[in-house]
């Protein structure tokens, strides 16, 4: 009733092949984007920017990247934290070396550098599979973090090894640093995420995406029908790292402003991104967003409800929060093992029939 695919006729190939072929989907996406771009910036304040929207966008970007690798190409990786660190440090070095450079270009270049690094660490995937690969990618996680901690060149010899984002402007408005207005950092990240989510959505519909999925579903069979595993796996690693690198750059330059490898890009971050895509839904672009939203917003929500809402002592609330997050994760997996994206699919199914279930 509310969600209809029927009656949506196409009369040309180009309209049949557009990004969102169903009219309702298209309208919904445009609607959400319009709100995100034209309404939210007028109401955003520091709290919503720094605690809710920026983390969500940054993690959504990382989740998109990992979902390409794990969800679409089937290669489980626990190296995301390390790749985010590469993005962040590349971004820092670029910002310092080329102060005039546009931040969009800096972030994209940082992503490209990460892509190269990701490809190198993706090489073992040609031989190792499944959980063995997951644990093997931890090698990159630990090695990269150690490297950034150890080599003073990466942090320009600062006394403590912290990197601090210098102030950069965007058409005269400060984009990084403490003085930057909320709406511009938000719009900057939003633009990047939307553009690259759109690209990702189209990539997976194309030849390269289909080759990834073939590898995921059964790599030997894929190889036999002529999908080159080397090319497919390495391209997945490269593109996934590109996204993750950009999210690391955004996290460092726009969201946090400072970073230290052990704390900001530790192993827990690698796990966090993996949780996001599993909770959100493996192999779903929407799932990346839902998962990122769930895991960045849920703790904030729980904290606000328990401490500000119920007035519980902060120490008990902190422990109960952990307990609840764990219970919620298990609950969601029991109810819907295929993630929040699957829940949405089921909802669509229901809406299609409602209120006449037969």
């Amino acid at each position: 009733m509310f969600y209809r695919e029927a009656g949506d006729f196409k009369t040309s190939y180009s309209s049949d092949q557009q990004t969102f072929p169903i009219r309702l989907d298209r309208h919904m996406v445009w609607g959400i984007l319009a709100i995100a771009f034209f309404v939210v910036p007028f109401f955003i304040n520091d709290y919503w920017e720094k605690s809710v929207l920026l983390p969500f966008l940054v993690w959504a970007m990382a989740a998109l990247g990992l979902n390409i690798l794990t969800g679409f190409c089937g290669q489980v990786s626990l190296g995301s934290g390390g790749f985010m660190a590469v993005g962040a440090y590349a971004c820092y070095k670029l910002m310092v070396a080329f102060p005039w450079m546009n931040m969009f270009i800096v972030v994209i270049l940082a992503g490209l550098i990460t892509a190269v690094v990701g490809m190198i660490f993706g090489l073992p995937s040609l031989r190792i599979k499944g959980f063995y690969l997951a644990v093997a990618t931890l090698a990159s996680q630990f090695f990269l973090v150690w490297l950034f901690n150890k080599v003073p060149w990466f942090y320009n010899n600062s006394a403590s090894g912290m990197i601090v984002a210098p102030e950069r402007t965007f058409f005269g408005i400060p984009l990084t640093g403490a003085e930057s207005p909320s709406w511009i950092t938000y719009l900057f990240c939003l633009t990047l995420v939307v553009v690259f989510a759109f690209i990702a959505h189209n990539l997976i519909r194309g030849r390269i995406g289909r080759s990834w999925m073939a590898i995921r579903d059964m790599d030997i069979a894929a190889e036999i029908i002529g999908v080159p595993p080397l090319k497919a796996k390495l391209s997945a690693f490269a593109i996934s790292s590109f996204y993750i690198g950009m999210s690391g750059a955004m996290m460092f330059a726009i969201y946090l402003g400072t970073a230290e490898p052990t704390e900001a890009f530790g192993i827990s971050k690698s796990f966090l991104v993996l949780f996001m895509i599993i909770i959100g839904g493996l192999g779903s672009i929407l799932g990346s967003f839902l998962g990122a939203a769930f895991l960045t917003l849920m703790p904030v929500l729980l904290k606000n409800v328990m401490v500000n809402g119920f007035g519980w002592p902060a120490d008990l609330a902190a422990h109960i929060e952990l307990l609840l997050i764990g219970a919620l994760i298990m609950f969601f997996l029991i109810v819907e093992p295929h993630g929040l994206a699957q829940l949405w699919r089921v909802t669509k199914e229901k809406l299609r029939l409602w209120p006449f279930p037969h």
């Binding site: 031989r127 063995y132 093997a136 931890l138 997050i325 219970a327």
Partner: protein, 333 residues
């Protein structure tokens, strides 16, 4: 012998000991993976939880004292002088069995036939849950683990080896921690018991049957649920042993759960499905990382152990993608 050579021997010896400690953690992973195909991320937190419970019983803490105090305004703390160590260990085991039962009843039962990565994720949720639960139950302060195991450098080995070096080289003798020797002993007993158990008891055979083929085991009338409870209980026991050994070194606190990270390279090196693999993998990782730190670490700035363990494991995987002792991966179209 020259002191340099003796130093290398000492590093190798201590590497072996460190490896045993890693193996103790890795064993728990292997048991569960073998029987149910679940990569149990929560093994580290289980070790923490078991150790917390043990110390709680030993010192006579009242569980959830802080929560009760906050809710009712009481001043509960301890209920008495605490229990003797052996009784505390037995009770802790009881708690771990109960935990396995509850877990099976409320979580695992619903997760039959899910993809491995979903099961993995479930155990991560479990890890969060148990961390919060353990803190609420026993408090978050650092606790002292004392079950009466000796620790400290062995003077016996030191005095024997001191004479081995050339005259006048001022060599102090080799060092080994007595606690590590105990850990090695415990690990050997543990592995032998587990092997005997799985070879010669009815339950053990059932366990192996389930590990081989779920469906076939079900058809011959083995209850999957009972088996899972047994396996998770055994893993809980192994976690308790690991918790005691590691807890004696660092005190019982949240960081105890991070020992899981040290067990992962051991796991992939030895193979997820092999108990001997966990031991051999541990020894290789322990010796490898210590030797690397000794010879190369100093040159490139030190603190290399964390990543080198993984690189070493990765190197072995290049030759055997299923780990040294893992079941051969056979792929068919």
């Amino acid at each position: 012998m020259s002191p340099d050579l003796l130093n290398v021997l000492e590093v190798i010896l201590n590497g072996l000991m460190a490896g045993i400690m890693y193996s103790l953690v890795a064993l728990g992973f292997v048991l569960i993976y073998k029987a149910s195909g679940i990569f149990n991320y929560a093994q580290g937190v289980m070790a923490l939880f078991a150790a917390l419970t043990l110390v709680g019983f030993q010192t006579g803490q009242i569980p959830f004292a802080h929560v009760i105090n906050a809710a009712l305004g009481t001043h509960l703390d301890t209920w008495g002088p605490g229990l003797p160590t052996l009784l505390a260990i037995i009770l802790t085991m009881g708690v771990m069995v109960l935990f396995a039962y509850v877990l099976e009843r409320f979580v695992l039962r619903h997760m039959v036939n899910q993809a491995p990565i979903i099961l993995f994720m479930t155990t991560i949720g479990l890890a969060y849950f148990m961390e919060g639960f353990g803190d609420l139950m026993w408090g978050a302060d650092v606790k002292t683990m004392d079950v009466g195991l000796p620790s400290g450098g062995s003077t016996w080995l030191e005095s024997i080896t001191a004479g081995w070096a050339a005259e006048g080289s001022n060599y102090r003798g080799m060092y080994i921690d007595v606690l590590d020797l105990w850990a090695a002993g415990v690990a050997i007993v543990l592995v032998i018991t587990l092997t005997l158990f799985s070879q010669y008891t009815k339950t053990g055979r059932a366990l192996r049957a389930v590990a081989d083929d779920h469906q076939a085991a079900l058809t011959v009338g083995i209850s999957l649920r009972t088996i899972w409870i047994i396996v998770w209980s055994i893993a809980g026991f192994v976690a308790l042993v690991a918790g005691i050994m590691w807890g004696a070194k660092s005190g019982v606190q949240f960081s105890l759960s991070l020992i899981a990270l040290k067990a992962l390279p051991v796991l992939i090196l030895g193979g997820f499905t092999s108990i001997p693999g966990a031991i051999v993998g541990g020894l290789i990782i322990g010796v490898g990382e210590k030797l690397f730190e000794y010879f190369i670490g100093g040159m490139i700035g030190g603190a290399t152990e964390n990543w080198f363990a993984y690189v070493l494991a990765l190197f072995f995987l290049m030759f055997r993608p299923q780990g040294l002792f893992g079941e051969r991966i056979i792929e068919r179209v």
